[in-house]
């Protein structure tokens, strides 16, 4: 099929296999001689390993431990503080100490029970609050913006200063397919297959762990049932486990998690605490604002420093705030490591800031949306790091249009009347305004990623896409094929895009940061254009295209100044809820959303990102609840964690605004993360509107709502 406009939807390339249930995921793979691995995990949160007594092993069963690692005993990410096998110190409950490998899982589980590890337990830091009190284990910190001295002076003359603290909880990815990785031994190479987002992250971790050459390891993505960032950093560790094991036992070794293991040991969204200090004049106008962000990094650094960067860069939201200062920290706790998750620090910041702006609006006696609109940034204005919003910004139009469609004013009046008459159920409406910086922060694409893509044309004129990005359900098999096909003027079905294999594909970067369509898609667009120019029928041809950095205001990571992102995607969410004031249950009633993502490469695929991202973002605000007690994750099942079902989400009415960005293919910008970010703040604002009570945390669970309402009732009586 060749569509006139690239936005027109087509059938996803992997649609039939998925719908028929025929796509083999990693857990469906069986190989001759294949062994299973199970991990012995630390039962304590922090301590020194005194001795490890392995169980007596039956024939055909093996122990794989730190002594088998040819290279360094760490998972290569940013900082070498994450052991592959924690044989000296353990830093969280669930940390792998060694692995048992053999044919029967039942035997392996029994052997796990027979192993004995002795520890010298040390006093652990269990919560972010404890870590903030101590401030001893700072994994990363940044500070930028207006000088604190100036802010202090402004404060002295201010009419009032509003100080607030805001907290966000864990979020778990709940990808449909739990983590799984297979290591395969071959004479001249170790192959790793599995569910993943970042083939070259894994490859680099393997080269480091196995201390081998580039061509001695090979990473192949298997069909991946969802990632959401959960398969960005975490799979590198599992890949090291199975690769080392496969090399030792010279057989395929499979490591698969069931849901409860996956829930308690894999990375999550960083819990955070954010402090705001805002000076207001007599009319409620903002004179200055300073923000302090604390992220709970968990037991090792992982990607947390980068998550902190994005949290800080988004900390002023879509607003032009005079005299803005930001500071942030990642603190270590002895809990399961936190890592990449769709939005990457931004959801915490937007939830906090939108909440704070809503609260000061009420203090100023204004409607939150009207108040926030006064501060919207405009094209050409500086970012908080003295970069520039260079491209057109349509936020005003998007808001205005939504308000009209909704009949916002009338609706608010209707709700006020309803709430007066209804003792139990209360209706509310809330908005969120947000953006997302597309691609890696600063000069990351140029300095760290250096993406390369390849198009191969065979003798039979078959065109193959050779990149290292994963289709994990988000649809890049289809969208990227469409881009190439459109350039070549052939139907997209004719473009082949096999599951990537590092032996075969260049490093086009990880599948993260809302970068794939915009950055990799652009490179493919260029490659396809060149291929068309040079096209010679019946001849094998190869086109390689490297990332070219677009000159902006240069980014300086030390001072946090310059253009943090080449482009921004924008969004407005308006959510209507009905809150049961007797039980605290929140029912979503209507969901409206408008987005500027440049240009949709496929409208239905974008709609998938909108519906899924918003469900995930809304649920982050009031449903999904994960807690850790003495270092142990409490929710071990999906039921207890409570992600939304089809019964909890209502139809999402969404609209796209075309605003083509020259740096993206056909004008496309990032979409994947953007759609999640506005959910939680919009739902919070709607709940506050319904109950006329402020909240200072997400998720706003029924328990929190009832506690707040009881408190208010108590105060009313006093």
């Amino acid at each position: 099929m060749i569509t006139k406009d690239i936005s027109q939807s087509v059938v996803k390339k992997d649609h039939v296999d998925k719908v028929a249930g025929q796509l083999p995921y990693i857990s469906d793979v069986k190989m001759e001689d294949m062994l299973y691995g199970v991990l012995y995990r630390s039962p304590i949160a922090y301590g020194k390993v005194l001795s490890i007594e392995y169980p007596i092993l039956p024939e055909g069963y093996h122990v794989i431990g730190a002594e088998h690692i040819p290279g360094g005993n760490f998972v290569k990410i940013l900082i070498p503080d994450q052991p592959i096998f924690a044989n000296e110190w353990v830093n969280y409950i669930g940390e792998p100490i060694f692995m048992l490998v053999g044919k029967e899982l039942e035997v392996l589980y029994q052997l796990l029970d027979e192993a004995q590890v002795k520890f010298e337990e040390h006093e652990a830091t269990y919560t972010l609050d404890d870590a903030i009190e101590k401030m001893t284990d700072v994994m990363a910190t940044h500070e930028f913006g207006e000088s604190l001295q100036t802010i202090e002076e402004i404060g002295k003359k201010a009419y009032q200063i509003i100080e607030e603290e805001y907290e966000t909880g864990y979020q778990e990815h709940v990808y449909l397919e739990p983590q799984g990785m297979l290591g395969i031994y071959q004479e001249d190479e170790i192959q790793v297959q599995g569910s993943m987002q970042c083939l070259y992250y894994i490859k680099n971790a393997l080269i480091s762990a196995l201390a081998c050459d580039d061509d001695e390891v090979r990473v192949i993505q298997s069909p991946t049932g969802g990632g959401f960032g959960g398969k960005e950093d975490f799979p590198s560790m599992m890949a090291c486990h199975v690769a080392i094991a496969a090399q030792v036992v010279k057989k395929p070794v499979m490591l698969l998690f069931d849901r409860s293991e996956d829930l308690v040991v894999t990375t999550k969204r960083h819990p955070s605490k954010i402090k705001y200090k805002t000076a207001l004049d007599r009319d409620g106008n903002i004179l200055s604002m300073s923000t302090e962000v604390f992220l709970d990094g968990g037991a090792n650094t992982g990607l947390s420093p980068v998550v902190l960067q994005r949290a800080l860069l988004n900390s002023a939201g879509v607003y032009k705030i005079p005299h803005y200062h930001a500071k942030g920290y990642v603190l270590k706790t002895n809990t399961v490591p936190n890592g990449a998750f769709r939005g990457f620090g931004a959801p915490q910041s937007f939830a906090g800031l939108e909440s704070h702006m809503g609260h000061i609006a009420r203090i100023a006696g204004k409607d939150p949306l009207e108040y926030k609109r006064q501060y919207l940034v405009k094209q050409g204005e500086p970012t908080i790091t003295n970069g520039r919003f260079r491209d057109p910004i349509f936020m005003e139009d998007m808001i205005e249009d939504l308000l009209k469609t909704l009949n916002y004013k009338k609706k608010k009046e209707e709700f006020a009347r309803f709430n007066q008459q209804s003792p139990r159920f209360k209706k509310g409406i809330g908005t969120s305004l947000f953006l997302h910086g597309c691609g890696f922060t600063g000069s990351g694409e140029r300095d760290h990623i250096k993406a390369t893509v390849k198009l191969l044309k065979t003798k039979d004129d078959q065109v193959l896409v050779k990149i290292s990005n994963s289709d994990m359900g988000q649809g890049i098999f289809t969208t990227l094929s469409k881009i190439v096909a459109q350039e070549l003027g052939v139907p997209y079905e004719e473009i082949s895009f096999p599951y990537p294999d590092t032996k075969d594909v260049p490093d086009s970067g990880p599948t993260v940061a809302s970068r794939t369509t915009m950055i990799v898609g652009k490179l493919l667009e260029r490659a396809a254009r060149r291929l068309k120019e040079k096209w010679q029928s019946g001849v094998e041809q190869e086109i390689v295209e490297d990332y070219v950095h677009e000159e902006m205001i240069p980014w300086d990571e030390k001072t946090f100044s310059g253009d943090a992102y080449p482009a921004y995607s924008w969004g407005v969410n308006i959510v209507e809820v009905e809150v049961d004031s007797f039980t605290g249950n929140v029912q979503l009633e209507k969901i409206h959303a408008s987005f500027d993502i440049g240009k949709a490469i496929d409208e239905r695929i974008v709609k998938g990102q909108i519906d899924g991202g918003m469900a995930q973002g809304l649920a982050y605000g009031f449903m999904e609840k994960m807690t850790s007690k003495q270092g142990r994750i409490q929710q071990r099942s999906i039921t207890d964690y409570g992600p939304p079902t089809a019964m909890d989400i209502v139809h999402i009415e969404s609209k796209l605004y075309d605003n083509p960005y020259a740096g993206g293919p056909y004008g496309a910008k990032g979409v994947g993360e953007l759609t999640l970010i506005g959910g939680a703040p919009a739902v919070q604002s709607a709940i506050e509107d319904a109950l006329a009570v402020p909240f200072y945390q997400i998720p706003i669970t029924p328990e929190i709502i009832i506690e707040s309402l009881e408190k208010r009732e108590g105060e009313a009586v006093d």
Binding site: E104, F257, D258, M623, G642, P644, T645, T701, E703
Partner: protein, 287 residues
Amino acid sequence: MVTKTVASYHFDTLAETISKLNEEDCTIIAGGTDVMVLHKSRRGVAPKIAKPVVFIDHLRELKQTYLEDGDLHIGACCTYGEMLEHSLIPNIFKKAIREVAAPAIRNRGTLGGNICNASPAGDMLPLLYIFNAKLVLRSVNEDRIVEIHDFIQGPRRIARQQNELLVEIILPEVVNEARLIFEKIANRRADAISKVSFAGLLQVQAGKVADARFAFGAVGPTMVRSQETEKKLLSQVYPLKVEVLDEVVADFASIINPIDDQRSTAAYRKTVALKLLRYFLTSKELF
């Protein structure tokens, strides 16, 4: 695989099933939606069930629903799905059933299984308690009829003899104009386990309370019901006087003692339970 075989029985008739139960201590499986979860092993290992298994959900004798002398008899192996379709099942039960699990589980899970699993969060239990359900237990001996509140003794503890099978649930006739309510409070709208549940029955005749029954789920080891407190309401004028209402709520406040767990808090459960009670006794919206 090192599989150990589990002896399992699948008889054509109820009589054969009952006589097997008399010979051997077995694990009874109806829909299996509790049994299989309870005996689940880690990934890749078959569930471990120590005793021989008896399947009963195919037995036609256990799937009959009929009226007799005004009482409703429901076969123990009627699934939620079947009850939803059946014209004799009271609407308030259907409301509760629609809030159980999701369609797949509702096609397997049975009423008898919900009772015998005796979970404090079992969603059929609050209504069964206020309907004064009677359970028919069959063995090679004579049938035994037990009140539901005597049968359920604690979480997963029931007064069933090894040789007995629950065959029928009897719902004694309930006066037509009684006001009924069932509320399930959970973290989401499907596939969720109750944090609090409440069933209420109120019958008002000539401006006075003629019957009042309440049961709370998930706030204690078994359903919380107090016939003593219910009696206090009899013959009271309706709408209730504030003192009467406060006394009833205070009574329950003293006997509802929930716990904190990974799903909710004790304070929440108690506050909400009492709010639901007060709402049921006063709300004009409901009737």
